[in-house]
Subunit: 496 residues, 2 copies
């Protein structure tokens, strides 16, 4: 050994070849990962924005309208006054004596600081500040009418981090038939496929039924499970409710069917419930998986493992940039939960200000408090506008030749199907891209409207879709409608 | 298939057995992971704190002093006034018209909001807000006297997230001899061992030389490499400078030796430089790996891949809870970098307020600006106090019988060696714990001083250490000294 070292050091280093990390040697799971919401079309939209800003663009439009991502504030939604007041007081504590800031905001900031150690600059417990977890548990109890224990709640950096932590936890790290199997709806929010790639899970796709408004059918779950169970170790079933990108809102009966299916097959339910405040259909309301699980009684209530994810990035608050969220665990083995919490401790904690923003959403100013009326009024206006825009978007999309859009019952997106002319499909094939990608790029280049091709979410073979958010303001939305209709007419004329 | 489904559904579900996720079926890498900084001793400290608060404790002390974690604000350090003003203005934009807030803070908040889209509630680019990355690049250029490109910088949720992303990127996802090999100093900050466990990397330990003030010797790197290279695919070399938990500050010559070693062996250098503002030894200054790499000329300057990590949690700002940081990549293949950035996009973006706090650290108020003098004065006072406490802590530890502590040249910790009496070692063995764990628990139970046993960081077999931060205020530090000296005298009397 010593001899070898001596030899090695005798060779002038400049004669030794340094081999860099290459696409062939990086983590293959990283290469597999795709995340369409920020994919090539968004890169192109950013370039066009820069061209427009430089004044050197020859585009016929003057702005890019970003309908690719559920980013409320980016499309002009105003932050909730009270939420931001609480955050700024906790950040700059000299504002406690600012006469124009309301008492309830000061009290909420004070309670948080008292619980976390006096500064938003400290690390909190890895699972989050205790007073916030208590408020999360109260929110859940009020919502469902059943108890929730702060010990089973951990706070997260948005919902994404929690989803990733849970998918990591159930990963087997094995290859071949021993890979963890994860059931994912198609279409899906691509965090799930990206994270399955990251942890080398075997993804079992189950299709939502477009014709019935993107319904979730137990028969389809059974079929997907049976078709794939020998290829992997099925572990988890992901459900997004209200749906992203599909906007459906499940009924209690739908959810009961899913829970019984999960029970039959020993699956953990990952319930992505980040759009729980975003329900627009008059005949639907949000019902949590936990509530239905409890209502089913034994053996379900005490057996089926459930992880429910929530975020401050959606709903009426839309605070994406603050990065806050929570996950509630139901029926997990305490030892497993301890291992998860240990794993979370290595990332220290989520942003304290993200935690505090979540605290406000979980425990907003109540009746009689100085900010109650303004908070509720701002919240109501945002949700009312979303409802209006959901209707307007559906109508617009259905007015386009070849488009059909299911009603948007909830969440923040439309996912219309497009029947594109044969000549357009050929043009796409000639460029080597799917027809939906071709259409979305044409739409972007000609109108500045940035959407995401349906292939980024998954769709039935032979169909084409796109995802568009309903977030632009009503004025912007009218602009979207006008640009799109003109473009689409021209597109269809060109390719028909 | 259909037949099977029918059968399955005919069986009453209550007769089917639901198997829960168990310790035997979770991700084995999660089980392997350990993170001592938040381990069992910290759990016990929290319990004692609750006992003290309840008034039902029979402890002889009235407070727990948390010296286990580099959390400046938790031990009373005040936040920088200007930094918090910028954050609160950007959060609650009505504060732009607050007459008591300084103009430069308003301008910095405005510049950030203009660059990110007008609200701290938006998602930024996955790599971070462009204006912040530009300020990071200017900071690096000024520090090193060589250019830095914002395209090679990505912002992160503290340094931890960036370290994890890079270790994930180089993981091979293979088993046995094909595992990625990662060289890690012993003692080390346990994020590295935890993340190596998480990604199933083969950890190659190299020992720092305690006798020479925790020096990093190239001979030891060579030995560790040669001893282990046939067991794995060596990929990366982690260096923590200034050192955690060991406090050493490397010279340019030390760093040059490390770079040449990395070049000879095609290793990527992961330079954890989060303590770059924390240097106390009069004969040392912080020199970045990038600066030395550049000074070595070819072939090093254009070949050796380097990832440098920085955080807002340490230094003089100590803003742990805001979760901000950056990573600069040097000499990475553009395709590899694109894959990394794609992977980062699935986590959306780091906290916007963490990004803004980093912006302030990278671009603080300059001479002539209203907040310049107060900012520099607060910064100076914090760094001066840390220097004083580094000296006081070293002296205290060296005054304890059987303790020897190397000078704290930088960072925020002391890592003294303890020669414990044979009877104490026997008592530890009887309890089935290492001697350092035994000592640290005794220290906690008898004095309320919470430290971390050396075994959590790694140490030479047969030696015992502990890590203690130098963060408590000077008054608290005196309390630590007095409690500890009394305890230690008693401990030694008991076991000698």
């Amino acid at each position: 050994m010593i001899k070898f070292i001596s030899n090695a050091r005798a060779i002038p280093t400049s004669f030794r070849c340094y081999t860099k990390l290459s696409l062939d040697t990086i983590n293959p799971n990283v290469r597999k990962l795709e995340y369409a919401v920020r994919g090539p079309i968004v890169q192109r939209a950013l370039e066009i924005e820069k061209e427009l800003a430089s004044g050197k663009s020859n585009k016929k439009f003057d702005s890019v309208i970003k309908c690719n991502i559920g980013d409320c504030h980016a499309t002009g939604q105003k932050a909730l006054t009270y939420l931001r007041q609480v955050l700024s007081i906790a950040t700059d504590t000299s504002l406690f004596s600012h006469p124009k800031l309301p008492e309830d905001a000061k009290q909420q900031a004070k309670k948080f600081l008292d619980s976390c150690g006096g500064s938003v600059g400290v690390y909190s417990q890895s699972t989050g500040v205790e007073s916030v977890r208590v408020n999360v548990s109260k929110y859940i109890s009020n919502r469902d009418g059943i108890p929730a224990d702060p010990k089973n709640i951990f706070l997260s950096t948005g919902a994404s981090e929690a989803v990733k932590s849970m998918l990591q936890l159930i990963s087997t790290t094995k290859d071949g038939k021993d890979r963890a199997g994860v059931m994912v709806p198609i279409p899906q929010y691509p965090l799930y496929s990206a994270t399955n790639a990251e942890y080398n899970a075997f993804q079992i796709n189950y299709y939502l039924d477009e014709e019935s408004g993107w319904g979730l059918k137990v028969e389809e779950l059974e079929k997907a499970f049976e078709d794939n169970k020998s290829e992997c170790k099925p572990r988890a079933l992901c459900v997004i409710n209200p749906g992203n990108p599909t906007g459906q809102v499940l009924t209690s009966a739908d959810i009961a069917g899913v829970i019984k299916f999960a029970h039959r097959n020993s699956l953990i339910i990952f319930a992505d419930e980040v759009y729980q405040h975003n329900v627009y259909a008059p005949d639907r309301e949000f019902v949590s998986f936990k509530k239905v699980l409890h209502s089913l009684g034994q053996p379900y209530a005490n057996e089926v493992q459930l992880a429910s994810f929530m975020s401050i990035s959606k709903g009426y608050m839309g605070e994406c940039g603050l990065r806050g969220g929570y996950c509630e665990l139901v029926n997990f083995d305490p030892g497993v939960q301890a291992e998860l919490y240990k794993c979370l401790s290595a990332r220290l904690c989520p942003s304290l200000l993200g935690q505090l923003a979540l605290d406000v959403v979980m425990s907003p100013p109540g009746p009689g408090q100085p900010s109650h009326i303004s908070f509720e009024s701002e919240k109501g206006a945002i949700l009312d506008a979303l409802k209006t825009k959901a209707k307007l978007m559906t109508e617009t999309l259905n007015s386009l030749e070849g488009f059909s859009c299911q009603p948007i019952q909830g969440a923040m997106y439309a996912f219309p199907q497009m029947k594109l002319p044969k000549k357009a499909q050929d043009a796409a094939a000639a460029k080597g891209v799917p027809a939906d990608v071709f259409y979305c790029f044409e739409l972007l280049e000609n109108t500045g409207i940035c959407t995401v091709p349906g292939s980024g979410f998954g769709q039935k073979p032979g169909t084409s879709h796109l995802r568009i958010t309903i977030l632009p303001s009503i004025d912007q939305m009218k602009e979207v409608v006008s640009r799109w209709q003109a473009f689409h007419k021209d597109f269809m004329a060109r390719y028909n």
